[in-house]
């Protein structure tokens, strides 16, 4: 695997839109060629090299390409958007849409990220050591086919609207989650290791949610049906099993109504 290192030397006044920073785009390009690819600041299009020092060449394919971002990328959006393979490491913070519409490969952010990260995700792995903003692993506006696959792992807290319209894949939040988890969900799994503020599983059709801590405001549409012993993300525990959202439609499979499952640790 070949590594390209981008060091942010000339930060933007506003924000940079770096949707071209993906192993797919970097593959087969030399450092000099990479310095010439487009990056946007508002309506201004510039070569990547205007803002970043580029070291190293891309690999032959996306899978052979690793991109390391250094410097303060707090104001850089869309890194790794639509990537299909390869690896990205962001040494510090990053802004919005990190790993948006990601299909494969791996992104590791060592700091925090802002909202809309991992939206429309179909596959791959997005790891955030810090906190995430709102709409983590959610669906883009209006799209009913939300997260389809892959894994999102956030060590810290997440904002509101985690996994809206989730259809598949797994989101693991190490800390607390704000309101709205798996709203409109029709599959997939969200695991909250800390507390959840409320509106957990609202309008949910199918899928699983685990909350290890407390739910401050549980919804009336979820009903306790029993207790189960399960291993969740490598941890064994006893959980209270609720089904819901009883206010929402539910499919019938083999004569049985399928509900969404909410497990809270006992």
């Amino acid at each position: 695997m070949k590594t390209v290192t981008l060091t942010l030397e000339n930060p933007p006044e506003l924000y940079l839109e770096g949707q071209n920073i993906t192993p797919d785009n970097f593959a087969g390009k030399t450092a000099a060629e990479l310095a010439a690819i487009d990056i946007w600041e508002g309506k201004l299009k510039s070569p990547l090299g205007k803002h970043f020092a580029v070291a190293g060449n891309g690999g032959a394919t996306a899978a052979d390409t690793k991109i390391v971002l250094r410097g303060d990328c707090t104001r850089v959006k869309r890194i790794g958007q639509q990537m299909t393979a390869g690896e990205i490491v962001i040494e510090g913070n990053a802004d919005m849409y990190i790993g948006g519409w990601m299909k494969g490969g791996k992104i590791h952010v060592k700091g925090n990220v802002d909202s809309f990260c991992g939206i429309g995700m179909e596959g791959g792995e997005l790891i955030v050591d810090g906190n995430a903003g709102h709409h983590l692993g959610s669906s883009p506006r209006g799209e009913w086919r939300g997260m389809q696959g892959g894994v999102i792992r956030v060590a810290g807290d997440a904002g509101n609207d985690t996994g809206t319209f989730i259809n598949g894949g797994t989101i693991i939040i190490g800390g607390d989650a704000d309101i709205h988890i798996s709203t409109h969900g029709e599959g997939g799994t969200v695991i909250v290791k800390g507390n959840a503020k409320g509106r957990v599983g609202g309008q949910m059709v199918k899928g699983d949610i685990y909350v290890f801590g407390e739910i401050e405001n549980p919804l009336p549409g979820f009903k306790l049906v029993g207790e189960v012993e399960q291993e969740v993300d490598g941890v064994k525990g006893r959980f209270a099993h609720h089904i819901g959202d009883l206010g929402e439609r539910h499919p019938v499979s083999k004569g049985k109504t399928v509900y969404a499952n909410l497990y809270t640790q006992i």
Binding site: F116, H134, N160
Partner: protein, 138 residues
């Protein structure tokens, strides 16, 4: 020691504020319509306020002096109301939950009797002072 309570604040339209807007935000109508707070009687009592006493309302992002009045539209204890507009917006948190809309309703504030000598500021003073353009009453 001055009393101080925490309430849940909402800021919404009132018809007086509507009239004030179309008359002009620098008119007395607007000033009287918007620089007020309504609370439940229990909370007014807890603060030991007399009718029309000035209070200081403080949120996570600022504070404003307004007059505590008895409104027609009853609130439950713990809920407070300032009509939408310049006064409310001194304390409304700009956080949007990634929707674009600020937290106009449902944010914690503390309410306390205004310190002696404090007054309700004019709309012009509030806005111009916030952006460093206030030159004082000319």
């Amino acid at each position: 020691m001055a009393k101080k309570i925490t309430l849940n604040m909402i800021t919404q339209r009132s018809v007086e504020e509507g009239v004030g807007i179309v008359k002009g935000k620098m008119t007395p109508d607007y000033f009287e319509a918007c620089s007020i707070i309504e609370m439940h009687d229990d909370d007014v009592k807890a603060l030991g306020l007399v009718p029309n006493q000035l209070v200081r309302v403080t949120s996570e992002c600022g504070d404003v002096i307004v007059k505590a009045v008895k409104g027609r539209q009853a609130l439950y204890p713990g809920l407070a109301f300032i009509p939408q507009g310049v006064y409310a917006n001194q304390i409304v948190p700009a956080r949007t939950q990634a929707t674009g809309e600020p937290q106009y309703s449902g944010f914690p504030v503390t309410v306390e009797p205004a310190p002696v000598g404090e007054r309700r500021k004019s709309t012009l003073e509030l806005v111009q002072r916030a952006v460093g353009m206030w030159k004082g009453d000319q």
